[in-house]
Symmetry: C4
Subunit: 208 residues, 4 copies
Amino acid sequence: MKIARLEAFSDGVLAIAITLLVLDLHLTDGSDKSIGRQLADQWPSYLAYLVSFVVIGIMWVNHHALFQHVAHVDRALLFLNLGLLLVIAVLPFPTSVAAEGLRRGGNDARVALFTYSLAQVLIALAFSAIWVYIVRKPGIRQQPMSASDQRASIRRFSAGLVAYLLLCGLAFVSPIATLIGHGLVAVYYAFEQLPDAPLAGPERHQAS
Amino acid sequence: MKIARLEAFSDGVLAIAITLLVLDLHLTDGSDKSIGRQLADQWPSYLAYLVSFVVIGIMWVNHHALFQHVAHVDRALLFLNLGLLLVIAVLPFPTSVAAEGLRRGGNDARVALFTYSLAQVLIALAFSAIWVYIVRKPGIRQQPMSASDQRASIRRFSAGLVAYLLLCGLAFVSPIATLIGHGLVAVYYAFEQLPDAPLAGPERHQAS
Amino acid sequence: MKIARLEAFSDGVLAIAITLLVLDLHLTDGSDKSIGRQLADQWPSYLAYLVSFVVIGIMWVNHHALFQHVAHVDRALLFLNLGLLLVIAVLPFPTSVAAEGLRRGGNDARVALFTYSLAQVLIALAFSAIWVYIVRKPGIRQQPMSASDQRASIRRFSAGLVAYLLLCGLAFVSPIATLIGHGLVAVYYAFEQLPDAPLAGPERHQAS
Amino acid sequence: MKIARLEAFSDGVLAIAITLLVLDLHLTDGSDKSIGRQLADQWPSYLAYLVSFVVIGIMWVNHHALFQHVAHVDRALLFLNLGLLLVIAVLPFPTSVAAEGLRRGGNDARVALFTYSLAQVLIALAFSAIWVYIVRKPGIRQQPMSASDQRASIRRFSAGLVAYLLLCGLAFVSPIATLIGHGLVAVYYAFEQLPDAPLAGPERHQAS
């Protein structure tokens, strides 16, 4: 299995998941409310669309950054990646739940945003599992990684996991702040990058 | 991040968004109207499908024309592009709103077509932001651009923005003319092209 | 615009359209009929899925055969291809209409299958328009085509168009036979191929 | 038709089918149940999502393993592959049926899981048909296959087919065990691989 093929399939799944988010935006069939009112009532869906789009978009960037470190795909990595895709591809569902929760408010909002945060915890764990595998397994990665780079990357993944767990708790205090918080964590990940991958060797060039 | 990868992901999102448009075409479950009547009642959906398909299709062409000018993708460009995809991928929603508005008529139609036009304004702004960034940032673009080409491109983007703002206003006068107007602006963009990109250098060839 | 890019986008749209066909297969929410009964009642949807899947699949093969003849993509060809994608991507809708028509029977079935056949006529016209353009415009095609090959290809496209028009009429006699007929015409197109494309020149190899 | 093109189209269809699985996860519009209750009630949908995601993901891996043996694509192989895609792309439907069956329980659950198992039998047959064609037709495969490899591969496909037929029967005893069983068979296929493909020749490298 070439890296390019795994990346192309992953890109496809991410592109589809990010585009399917729009399907949660729709008018209610047969509603007698005016369109203007219906559009206004759906602000939670717009916010959820915005946050999840940014989240998946940045995951796409980070997925590539991760696989820049990979020189060889074995079966374990293939299935770790499949697990990651499974939890990312499901994201349109908690996104829709979060929007409906915010529309309803009260306890429904809290449960909905907790669900959304839990999905992000699972994604963070799936990303971490891949990273640990890449760092630990000698034949997989492009080049040995310096001890300081290893520490930096562990700090980065731990920070994300802690943030998502905190957001799980925040869901019970302020659901709307929780959703916005997920957007902010995504922006953090957009700037706090993985250590640079080594220059790609000849096999890498061939594969891409 | 290679240009080819950014383009492939963008192509994927655009291909999915353009194909999802068909999901707004459907018979009403459990309706006792004849199929012929239901098909006839849905003419606004056909018109909206046609216009949005052409709009996204031409955006796809122009997206490539834009990135022909790019020699190097940095993080800012990555996120500007993500913002553009966000507003294009949402288009099936205002398309569906526009069709429902035209079916209902009256104020609903005006609000619906204003919403559709607003979405196009956002897309035009996102395209302009990318263009300004490419033209201004020296390391990004393939080759320096002549002053006359710069003026031509600014004229082009400004014309589009003005047209979309006019269509926002027209929505309150004639919703149906507004929708047709969007189709015509798309056709304008099909013919009024960006200045030719310079011949691609060796890196470009390698990337594609 | 490289040929490879146009083909990749077209492949994407066709792959999505063919996969979206499954969305018309679903149980009725809240129905108190047994699942077995609901599954049995949906036989028209299975037949429509089967026929449209084969139809789009073979269109995908023929789309490639068509573009094997193309050495250079100009703007007219780009928009002719966009028109073709527009009518193919809409096919999940008449497929769903055909299935609902067969479930209802009577006049609804006749109108539904006429609609399905009309969509195929439009697709046939869009394919023919591209072919005529490729054959006529000297700079577009790979190599000059022999007079006998030109006649063979015109015969092939004409046969399809006549068949679809006949199926438009058959819809008013036997809707179910009409749907099966579309499957048979697709199989005809699977075997009655375009004349072989000339061996690809060096530019072609580079592009793919 | 290059192998790479057939694989890219197949990858696209599989990526879309695997991502569409999420559309069966949704809250019920207008339900007055709490979101927490609705989320809890949907456990069969989560299980069905998990199993079908793993099933399609591993089919994707095995599809590539299969085509590693192919040196040349002819028309028969093209249509055998189209048949395989047809039965895989339909999988979101029996997945949704299985989830609804488990929610209802009783006879509905049995019929639903029998349907799901039947879909898997069809997929197994489609895979076997391609494999038999590759092994038998001399010009198609990369290299002659040893008699022991042939026996191993026949054993592998037969084991799968027997397992799916057993699961068809198990559906009438324990629907939930049947669904889990499908996940286990997929994991079996993840580890029990096809014999290694021969090293790819120069044409293969060029194609990918």
